[in-house]
Symmetry: C2
Subunit: 293 residues, 2 copies
């Protein structure tokens, strides 16, 4: 029997849809005016080039973990990661990279024992609330493109461990990690929120991490060094010549376009969907990010 494309296949068929077209999230993002997009500063982009030719781009979050982010820039600029690899991929959990068990000294400008930047003050943040219940925190929403969890009452906020979140590997407390070993969440891991410094998120090339073979040792560490995935370079985009530098923009999470996008994510009603959920969880919203020409 002939069969079906399934799921979001509907989005492809929509060109043939009747007059009163029901918008998909993609339709809303495509129609968003230029003014609804915000460029990410080149100084806040970390570009990982794999020896395989793949590229992973991380947007850094200095507003949430300033000292760890400063460390990461100093590590990149000080060539700390020369010879770095991806040495751990745990299914439904994380992909982790760095030098692993190394005695290499920190480059200049690295704070060896940063404070625990696991939350920041709620005060001073302009939050666009998500508006749906959350099992982990009193509030969830978006700040300047970032998914955040917070307690307005207790006065804290944190970057949420959604898919693609980049965090700082650490040993047991009081260690807070320097930034030398980083991981990307390849699943939502909200239970780690407020226990680790989240320093950014993968905005391009997450599949270069998520599709890697899983490590067979405990916690997904690769057993043999021959399995380690070599990294050619880790650079801050502002250090890359302007003509070669990648650039990205995200949909302003305070914009009307983003509000419409969230509404439709929570109430999918295009041709494929029969029963809209009426809600969506923070990590299933996926803030739109796209490459700039």
């Amino acid at each position: 029997m002939r069969s079906l494309l399934l799921l979001t296949a509907a989005a492809l068929l929509i060109g043939a849809a009747p007059a009163k077209k029901l918008l998909t999230p993609t339709d809303i993002v495509t129609a968003a005016p230029a003014a609804a997009w915000k460029t990410i500063a080149a100084d806040d982009l970390l570009v990982l080039d794999l020896k395989s030719g793949g590229r992973v781009v991380v947007q850094l979050a200095p507003a949430f973990a300033p000292i760890h982010v400063a460390n990461i820039k100093a590590l990149a600029r000080g060539k700390y990661w020369d010879g770095a690899t991806i040495y751990r991929v745990q299914d439904n959990y994380v992909a982790q990279w760095g030098l692993n068990e190394s005695d290499k000294p920190w480059p200049a400008g690295v704070t060896a024992k940063p404070p625990a930047e696991y939350t920041r003050a709620y005060k001073g943040l302009k939050v666009t609330p998500l508006g749906f219940a959350d099992p982990y925190t009193p509030g969830t929403g978006f700040v300047d493109g970032w998914p955040v969890a917070y307690s307005a009452k207790a006065g804290w906020a944190n970057l949420a461990h959604c898919y693609g979140a980049v965090g700082v590997g650490r040993d047991l407390s009081p260690d807070t990690g320097t930034g030398g070993e980083l991981y990307a969440a390849i699943a939502p891991l909200r239970h780690l929120d407020r226990n680790i410094a989240v320093v950014g998120r993968v905005i391009d090339g997450i599949d270069q991490l998520s599709s890697l073979p899983r490590g067979t040792e405990a916690l997904g560490f690769y057993k043999d060094k021959s399995s380690f995935v070599p990294i050619a370079s880790i650079r801050v985009a502002s250090d890359i010549p302007a003509g070669e530098r990648p650039a990205y923009e995200y949909l302003n999470t305070a914009s009307a376009s983003f509000a419409a996008y969230v509404r439709v994510r929570a109430n999918r009603h295009d041709t494929f969907y029969i029963r809209p959920a009426g809600g969506v969880d923070l990590c299933n919203v996926n803030v739109p990010v796209r490459k700039k020409a």
Copy 2:
């Protein structure tokens, strides 16, 4: 600088922990009595063997989608999937397999147009509520090992699209899919709940799907047939000779051990964690399943 194992590394160090040991979720599962485990019937296990040598095992859910599950057994027994492949892997979404665009006739016993088994009656289910807020549905919890969402008031319940959920590919409504094309969720996809028949979940070998290269065509379809991942066989475990047949058991979700496990998943307090979340979402609970000797 020497660096860190991170995250659940704490679990490995716990042997050296002080007298008042704080239990991890794994500790609770390991300590659960034999009576807290329930064997999965061999007739409810679908065994996919890949030509690569990898194996993916799916537990079927006849209590939620009886006609689609009966179809799947008839398809396996009628050798419908001879020559089947994994032909679609969309990052943070699904891995999908079957014959794709095929005109092969259905084997005997297949209902060509099953009803929309997207929900079932709430009545008759013994639900163990999760007890935390959910953005999608009034209620979430567990029924006989399965993560479910429900509205007691409206009278429906559905299997939740958590990581590993297996659903039936379908075309636009009124098509409901037969079961010939199946997908496994490689991310939580709760927005698909009640829009597709969920027929089971991957209980072993999900990494064989989640680590595959992502398809480069729209919706993650592989561009070239040479990228398709060939499947050697798809069998119901009860059709495999008893000595070769894999067997699994799951932690009874109505047991005291499971209740303790959920409590600790929601309040991680072992040596690595500083701030327990105080809640957990349905799809982050992960019902423990293990192979039987």
